[in-house]
């Protein structure tokens, strides 16, 4: 399957719509004034994604959620240490020094945040396209970014060498943090999604 420029633009737009909603719900949960820029949506290959989150061995939190219904696929959230610290500090008042010391309560708080952000993301796509989409319980792991990424990249590589990569920049008080999200629809779902926007694939 070959994606042309127009397909890519539509995918970027889909990425944009959901991202704003996800950021709003994050802001509500943390009851902090969080400002954000327009998210950067790009199509990147494995190595480009890795570079963008600090290298293959950089340890990050990965939250994977699968969705099905009218379309199916997975969403992978990758959260760097600064972002995780901001969340845990706002929610639980805790200080995260390193990932080795993270507690079970902190882990479930993170999984819940991931769940809510993905839900609001998926809801906005669902509303826009008038499709029924349901998500599963998220699975969370903390590890080297390269290791968290390779299974989803492998799965998606049957469709394309690149993944839809959404990078959001948040400003909270004097801090700037980023979240990274990968949107990976299955091949048939990608076709359905693009068809909804009047594009043939």
């Amino acid at each position: 399957m070959d994606l042309n420029e127009i397909h890519i633009d539509v995918l970027k737009e889909i990425g944009n719509i959901g991202a704003g909603n996800a950021a709003t719900s994050l802001s509500q949960m943390l009851s902090k004034r969080i400002e954000m820029n327009v998210p950067e949506v790009s199509l990147l290959n494995y190595n480009e994604v890795i570079n963008s989150i600090g290298g293959a061995e950089n340890v990050v939190v990965g939250i994977l959620v699968s969705f099905d219904g009218d379309i199916e696929g997975v969403i992978l959230f990758l959260l760097k240490k600064e972002f995780v610290h901001l969340i845990l500090n706002s929610l639980l008042g805790s200080e995260l020094h390193n990932f080795e010391e993270i507690s079970d309560i902190e882990l479930s708080a993170l999984a819940e945040i991931g769940n809510i952000m993905v839900s609001s993301y998926v809801n906005s796509i669902s509303l826009l396209t008038n499709m029924k989409i349901e998500i599963t319980v998220p699975s969370l792991n903390i590890d080297m970014s390269g290791a968290l990424l390779d299974a989803v990249t492998a799965q998606f590589s049957e469709i394309a060498d690149k993944v839809i990569f959404i990078k959001e920049k948040y400003f909270c008080q004097d801090e700037t943090v980023y979240s990274h999200m990968l949107l990976l629809p299955s091949i048939s779902s990608l076709k359905i999604l693009l068809n909804r926007f009047g594009l043939d694939v």
Partner: protein
């Protein structure tokens, strides 16, 4: 000679003693190392998927079956002999435990099986392995000793 030769994803490299080979952060991917102590050469492949069903010629090293076969063929050009070669494999983790129709969950396991099956077909002895579980691995092969060092987040080093 301290700098290790980097093997990227869907890639393969062969070195002479005393060079080292390294692959970073294998998750569900599998690293296959083949060592021929007489020819003094070692190879490392970093595969993503089990089988090259559509015979994708541009990405030979993306798949366990074509990747290992091609690595052994190229090692043969450099004086390697299959009956002297030994293999060590690492990786194939299940990073996320996820329900539903997605086959992401068992890619690692399928990669391990395909790597083992290919080695068996080529009659290359599988000498050691550190596979599966739910964590990533950075692997370094020292061609002189044949030692494969596995580094993971929050865990002790393993040498196989």
């Amino acid at each position: 000679m301290n700098q290790a030769v980097i093997v990227g994803i869907s890639d393969m490299k062969i070195v002479n003693e005393p060079e080292k080979l390294i692959s970073y952060a294998l998750g569900s991917c599998v690293g296959i190392c083949i060592i021929d102590k007489v020819a003094k050469i070692s190879g490392m492949a970093h595969i993503m998927l089990p089988y090259n069903n559509s015979l994708d010629k541009e990405n030979t090293f993306k798949y366990a079956d074509t990747g290992i076969t091609e690595m052994v063929r190229q090692m043969g050009y450099l004086g390697g002999r299959k009956n002297r070669m030994i293999a060590k494999i690492a990786g194939g983790a299940k990073m996320f435990d996820i329900k539903g129709s997605s086959s992401i969950g068992n890619i690692g396991e399928r990669n391990i099986l395909a790597a083992k099956e290919t080695l068996q077909k080529l009659q290359i002895k599988l000498y050691a392995e550190d596979v599966g579980k739910n964590y990533g691995r950075t692997i370094t092969l020292e061609s002189t000793t044949g030692n494969l060092t596995i580094k993971s987040f929050g865990r002790n080093l393993i040498i196989i």
